[in-house]
């Protein structure tokens, strides 16, 4: 099992702020592929050209990163702070 948290406009677009899903093994790329296969809404929100970041256990990933069962994942849309 892994927990996925969605932030900013992703949360509104996907109508989901947090979920727990079954997870054997894989990485950040395979997780995104799996989520995009949920349908047009997900494919569009998580399209590769939308620049967003994947966080694994509170560390922002800058390259493909392994995810293991028990991890906490977060999907961050482009930031607009300051």
């Amino acid at each position: 099992m892994i927990t996925i948290t969605y932030f900013g406009n992703l949360k509104d677009q996907l109508q989901c702020s947090e979920e727990t899903i079954a997870w054997e093994s894989g990485d950040t790329e395979s997780l995104l592929t799996m989520l995009r296969e949920r349908g047009a809404l997900w494919a569009q929100a998580l399209a590769p050209e939308n620049i967003f970041r994947v966080v694994v256990n509170e560390e922002i990933t800058f390259s493909v990163t392994e995810i293991v069962s028990g991890d906490r994942v977060a999907l961050l849309p482009p930031v607009t702070g300051g």
Partner: protein, 157 residues
């Protein structure tokens, strides 16, 4: 180097925060302070309010990383970032960034660098509510990304 990062809903006190930073910075000769406020007229319709949310834990970690990157480039003595989250109205202060250094140029440059990266890498998201009832998440600005180019050095580090 003294580093202090706080994410809070409450208003901050410029004098109190700058006094604390100066005290913690040792022999610094310069303090650069930047405060960001809510703009009322960024679009045709006037802003009613703005909501700002962040990713607790990760935000503080990212800002620390940015400050440490600045420290590698300039000789800074201390840095304090107070970033507010929650609901805001026109002219409300949102962010306070302060940098101390022995010399002013280092403080100026480090403050600009930290602010540029904070805007593009720290996990904050703004949602604007206009007076006509419309609301939307603020999109990341391409111009903010382009500003980062000024910190890229032509030679490899």
């Amino acid at each position: 180097m003294h580093v202090h990062i706080v994410i809070q809903e409450e208003l901050f006190d410029l004098k109190k925060e700058s006094d604390a930073l100066i005290k913690a910075s040792g022999d610094a000769g310069a303090l650069v302070l930047f405060q960001g406020m809510v703009r009322e007229f960024d679009q045709a319709v006037q802003l009613e309010k703005m909501m700002l949310e962040h990713f607790p834990g990760v935000t503080e970690k990212e800002i620390t990383r940015i400050i440490l990157k600045a420290k590698q480039k300039w000789d800074i003595a201390g840095c304090r970032v107070i970033h507010r989250v929650g609901a805001f109205y026109a002219d409300d202060p949102i962010v306070l960034l302060m940098v101390t250094a022995k010399h002013r140029l280092h403080a100026f440059l480090a403050a600009e660098y930290i602010m540029d990266y904070l805007k593009t890498e720290a996990p904050f998201w703004k949602k604007e509510f206009l007076q006509d009832g419309e609301n939307y998440w603020v999109a990341a600005k391409k111009s903010d990304q382009e500003i980062l180019a000024r910190w890229q050095e032509p030679d490899s580090e």
